[in-house]
Symmetry: C2
Subunit: 346 residues, 2 copies
């Protein structure tokens, strides 16, 4: 077991102070280029790795901001909860989270202002959940990243901005799984999909549609239509009615939105329960009952709190440990049947 190398060892070997070693290693100013090279080289030679516990103890607190718009959906709050949880777990490592839920009516201006303030106030980095329309956001992100205050997007993404990285669901794979599953249960029968928004710039929705269609083609599953329900129960309800009226011979349905419950209720009411194979999304109160009755055959789930937790944790690791991030982190969807549902409900 090779004893761990400390900055003291490097300092001693080079006959310089630990302060200089520290500056050199962490890319801080006030070191001659020559000394820096020397330190860096011997550090590598000796296999030096800074001790994280010591670092976090000695440095000043890292502040991380978290910003989301208020929403009636549970989803965002789950993400927030995950971020808070990650923050608590890191509390002993000198990080502080500042979690802000901005009123819808204040978006995007209010959110942008808070981001700017955080940039002034010495925050280490910022996590934000972008909305569909966020004019002006790209610019603030660029300004902040110029100032070395990285911004991270979660849930949705602003791929053309200067955000450091994004954490979101792998909705493409969700779509593919849904199509493959329906092709197994109702091979060759016409199938349809519900999505929140068609033809928008919303990456995650577009990707789930793409994945669904792609896999359907591969499995020769005929897709009759893709319906939009705008994340709105009312619309979902009516869209379901329309779907079943237009396609009474429907074999499979993928509900790729937050409104699985509403859609299933309508399916049941119209007497289609069990006749159509249904893949839902997320986990919601009535799910167990629908699975038991055979109205739903599977649901595709990803823990939203993980998005928040990972965004927080990865940003921390970038800030505190200089970990080079991926551009996009995607979370894996899981196929949940009635027999493993118990593993996902607390």
């Amino acid at each position: 077991m090779d004893k761990k190398v400390t900055i003291y060892d490097i300092a001693a070997k080079l006959n310089i102070s630990t302060a200089t070693v520290n500056r050199a290693i962490n890319g801080k100013p006030r070191v001659s280029a020559e000394t820096r090279r020397l330190v860096l080289d011997t550090a590598r030679e000796m296999g030096f790795k800074a001790n994280k516990a010591a670092v976090s103890l000695a440095r000043k607190t890292i502040k991380i901001g978290f910003l989301m718009a208020e929403s009636e959906l549970d989803y965002g709050h789950e993400v927030l909860r995950g971020a808070r949880y990650a923050c608590e777990r890191l509390a002993d490592f000198n990080v502080q989270g500042d979690f802000q839920v901005v009123r819808q009516s204040d978006c995007p201006q209010g959110m942008i202002r808070i981001m700017q303030d955080m940039g002034q106030a010495g925050y280490g980095g910022i996590i934000m959940l972008p909305q569909y329309e966020m004019p002006g956001c790209e610019r603030v992100i660029a300004e902040l990243s110029q100032k070395q205050v990285p911004v991270v997007t979660a849930v949705s993404d602003l791929p053309h901005s200067k955000r450091l990285f994004s954490v979101r669901n792998n909705t493409r794979v969700s779509g593919k799984m849904a199509a493959e599953f329906l092709a197994m249960l109702a091979p060759g029968k016409p199938a349809a999909m519900f999505t929140a928004y068609k033809n928008t710039n919303s990456l995650v929705h577009q990707e789930s549609i793409d994945g669904f269609l792609q896999e359907a083609r591969l499995k020769t599953l005929p897709i009759v239509d893709i319906y939009e329900n705008q994340d709105n129960p009312q619309t979902a309800y009516r869209a379901t009615e329309k779907l079943l009226r237009e396609h009474p011979d429907l074999g499979g349905l993928y509900i790729g939105t937050a409104n699985s419950g509403t859609v299933c209720r309508k399916i049941s009411e119209l007497g289609y329960g069990g006749k159509i194979k249904v893949v839902a999304s997320d986990i919601f109160p009535e799910l167990n009952e629908y699975l038991r009755q055979g109205v739903i055959h599977a649901t595709i789930f990803q823990e939203p709190s993980n998005i928040g937790a990972l965004a927080f944790r990865y940003l921390y690791e970038y800030l505190a440990e200089g970990r080079k991030p991926e551009s996009v982190y995607t979370l894996n969807p899981q196929l949940v049947l009635s027999s493993n549902l118990e593993l996902f409900v607390r």
Copy 2:
């Protein structure tokens, strides 16, 4: 944001030294009962929580032993890899892992001796992968836990021993998922299962059988037989032949063992590929091909390296932070189709 409370704050308030506060809080000897109560009470009042970074920096190294028998299966080595990985991630927190792979011929005596040595040598705790037959093991575990050297079981369990906790797969749910999936794909048709060992005291195997049968009953899936293949490709090969000979009308098969590849090969050879719905286990090289061809319809997977990683991490948290462990930690199985396989192969 309430400032964090340190032992220094407690010491100052009570006009005693931090050394005494430390002893009181960590249940160390040499403190009067009275002082201890006082310290404990004010610590609670003030909301004191020891800073983990500082603790790990100051205390002496915790040594954790890891013991497994050599095996030709990849499985154990994946578990080992996971434990090593967890150890590396904790390296900055003053933990040291000692990973030992014992020759089969030396089991269980050799393993027991090493455990005893570790107990003498001041190890903080030990992780072991029990074999089916481990006479004498229970006794050593009892001795060690008496000496405050907790032993943890992974993969398999010794539920009647004094092990601190166990980390293993949730094979009951795996069995249930397999049955439910087969009931969906081939409703009412006769189904069978392969297991490694029937009628042994091996908990994980028995639980997967129980889960499979239980769910099959629920979904009225007729189970014609359960075949044993002893984790041996030869046996698996012959058992497959026997199965198909005895039940040419078979609708579904759950391969709940490490030999999915062998079984599928035989199924293909005998021309049953695609005619029987198959749920396999684990992820192995030919899997993708079998999924594509429709020989396998799904596989049930759990990252074996997670078992090692979690065993290490939870034991560390018990040792370093006094975290009270559960008795059993089970890992969730995932249903993998061809469309999400890419997420599981590196």
